[in-house]
């Protein structure tokens, strides 16, 4: 279960006067609930503090955003796994959630079946409620502002998700996406589905482009095409030249 964190590199977090060492081992300890109070504080501050993200000191040549995206992906996978294995409770939690989960080997005395069922139901509801809160907090604070994607596949589409919009990154597409500023520098093909009305700025384009909630947009830019960008609502796809329209439809399975 914790193997998903193997890809996390060791790096140092500098936050004000405190230097904290975040490593794969430390995160594993955190999930085994073996951290000291100080270590627990480091991990939780690193996970939940947006300010701390700005102070990350990484080895030369490594991209902070990619590290965070990998960790976030790991967390997402873990929650997905947990959703399927609902009998096993908390993995990432807020203080207090662990208290609702008796440690192994210290099982509570047996109760009458009805009482036990009721107890389990309440406990499960509490755990899932707190899990939901944890998920929301982590999602809103840990999500990286800058994501770099290099989809070298000639066939597959990669999917990214943020609070504001979902992005499908087409084959042979390089994209740098700043979720905070809405700035996107890319070549290739993207499909964007905003969850709220948003404005994005594309590298080489002076004006912001508006995207409406609930709509799906296709954005195309060729490496050799200079700054020429095609932005088209999915509903207008049939206005594109059939050669392009057919390729987009197939690539994104529209």
């Amino acid at each position: 279960m914790l193997l998903i964190f193997i890809r996390i590199h060791t790096f140092t977090l500098k936050n004000g006067r405190t230097l904290m060492k975040i490593s794969k081992e430390l995160i594993e300890k955190y999930h085994r609930d073996e951290c000291t109070a100080e270590e627990r504080g480091w991990v939780e501050e690193w996970l939940f503090s947006a300010e701390a993200d700005d102070e990350l000191v990484l080895p030369a040549g490594e991209d902070k955003a990619i590290h965070q995206q990998e960790i976030w992906n790991g967390l997402s996978d873990l929650f997905a796994e947990k959703g399927e294995e609902s009998a096993v409770p908390v993995v990432i939690s807020q203080p207090g959630v662990q208290a609702a989960t008796p440690p192994a080997g210290r099982q509570a005395p047996k109760k009458r079946a009805t009482y036990a069922l009721w107890y389990r139901s309440v406990a499960a509801a509490a755990i899932f409620g707190l899990l939901g809160i944890s998920w929301y907090i982590i999602r809103s604070k840990v999500e990286p502002h800058l994501v770099t994607v290099d989809n070298t596949s000639s066939f597959d589409v990669r999917y990214l998700d943020s609070n504001g919009y979902g992005i499908a990154v087409g084959p042979n597409t390089e994209a740098k996406i700043n979720y905070h500023t809405g700035f996107i520098d890319f070549s290739g093909s993207l499909m964007i589905s905003p969850k709220e009305d948003i404005e994005l700025i594309f590298h080489g384009d002076k004006e912001k482009v508006s995207f409406k909630m609930g709509q799906t947009y296709i954005i195309l830019k060729d490496k050799k095409g200079g700054d020429k960008i095609i932005v088209v609502n999915e509903r207008n796809l049939l206005d594109l030249p059939p050669v392009i329209q057919k390729r987009v439809t197939t690539e994104f399975n529209i």
């Binding site: 060729d222 594109l240 030249p241 059939p242 197939t250 399975n253």
Partner: protein, 410 residues
């Protein structure tokens, strides 16, 4: 006499009457306009709303009136339906690639309902042609590489496949990786298929071979017999479920348009042209070529027969759009009447139109109904009198209407 009919027989008669009425209600309008049972009207309009909702409306007249798609139309499930459909006898036929299903629909009480369907996998429609009242030939390509020409012969009354398979048209080779089939025309148990090849460079960068190919295919054997080539222009026709590019005139001569402009072939240095395949021939008339680009000084897409050797063509205005990014959203299209014999054109005094590819002209007797999406004057059906040349506004589409994307005769 009634008392001589037994009760079971009476019930059977009542059941037959009920089934007959039911059949009338659920079958398509078999060529009878405004069939009182089916409720089908004379014309159909496909609307894209400002909020990107899509609607189909039906009406008995295009000459006047005011319609609101959100009030008068059937809102469509856009995951299922799009405007690349075929209309015949009150029914709509559409291939949904994701569902791998070719479906038949009918509009009832402002709801577009699927009547029946045929599973159709790995097929992207390039062209359709009705070979009979309910015999439909679909010509297309595989839906991944767009490199293998395929066909499906369907019986649409029972919605069943009569035959289908690959046609041995040469696949793209060398620098070419995909192709387009632009027209299919039946000539004395032979099919004429016009096509060309594409070279792909990137997500929105491609070009087209300078050659138009016309292969004669044996029917129903579907074996290619011989091929004619044209290099005076390229990108023959286009996907005719979206827009019309060809027709047979009253003498049986076949005219097709080539569209090398950026919106189709992307060989803008070549002219938009009209070719002719004379009656009884399987090759283009080498003595005939109508260079529309020279006449209009722009590229055109879409051609509709007015009769008497006249057609309407729809031309872009390259001075009014920046590129493919605003080609569909900027009102820049003009309509011209072109005389195929005299090789002359004159512009119709209509507002600039928007929407890159649209089925936007219906010709009935001496009247051409032209749908125009004007950014300034709104969305109207305009009436062009072919004899007198007069133009006037007809039916208006208001409310949520952003684009009239197609108009059809039911």
């Amino acid at each position: 006499m009634a008392i001589l009919i037994s009760k079971p027989a009476k019930n059977a008669v009542l059941l037959l009457i009920f089934l007959f009425l039911l059949n009338c209600c659920f079958s398509c309008n078999n060529g009878h306009p405004a069939d009182k049972f089916s409720g089908t009207k004379k014309y159909s309009l496909y609307i894209l709303g400002k909020d990107n909702k899509e609607y189909i409306l039906q009406t008995n007249t295009l000459d006047s009136g005011l319609l609101y798609p959100e009030r008068d139309g059937a809102e469509l499930n856009v995951k299922e339906m799009d405007r690349d459909y075929i209309v015949k006898d009150g029914c709509y036929y559409h291939l949904n690639r994701k569902k791998a299903s070719f479906s038949k629909y009918q509009l009832k009480a402002k709801v577009l309902k699927e009547v029946s369907n045929i599973p159709v996998k790995d097929f992207s429609i390039e062209n359709f042609q009705w070979l009979g009242k309910d015999t439909l030939l679909l010509t297309g390509l595989d839906d991944h590489d767009f490199a293998q020409v395929k066909y499906l012969l369907l019986q649409t009354a029972a919605m069943k496949v009569l035959s289908g398979g690959d046609i041995a048209i040469p696949r793209p080779s060398g620098k070419f990786s995909s192709m387009s089939v632009g027209f299919v025309e039946m000539r004395h148990k032979q099919l004429l298929m016009g096509y060309t090849y594409h070279e792909n460079f990137g997500p929105s960068d491609y070009t087209t071979s300078d050659t138009t190919y016309i292969t004669t295919v044996d029917y129903p054997g579907m074996k290619p017999l011989h091929t004619d080539k044209e290099t005076r222009s390229t990108y023959p026709g286009g996907i005719n479920t979206v827009q019309s590019y060809s027709f047979n005139d009253q003498q049986g001569d076949y005219y097709f348009m080539t569209c090398p402009g950026i919106a189709l072939g992307n060989r803008p240095e070549l002219p938009t042209g009209i070719f002719r395949i004379n009656k009884g021939s399987t090759a283009t008339d080498k003595g005939y070529f109508f260079d529309l680009s020279s006449a209009i000084q722009n590229h055109s897409y879409g051609m509709w027969d007015l009769g008497h050797h006249q057609v309407i063509v729809r031309s872009e205005r390259k001075d009014l759009f920046k590129g493919l990014g605003d080609h569909y959203s900027t009102a820049h299209f003009e309509f011209y009447v072109a005389d195929l014999k005299q090789q002359t054109v004159h512009r119709l005094n209509l507002p600039l139109d928007k929407g890159t590819r649209r089925e936007c002209v219906i010709v009935k007797n001496d009247m051409a109904y032209i749908s125009v999406n004007s950014s300034k004057e709104g969305n109207f059906i305009w009436l062009y009198n072919i004899r007198t040349g007069s133009l006037k506004k007809g039916l208006q589409l208001a409310g949520d209407t952003d684009f009239i994307l197609r108009i059809d005769r039911l």
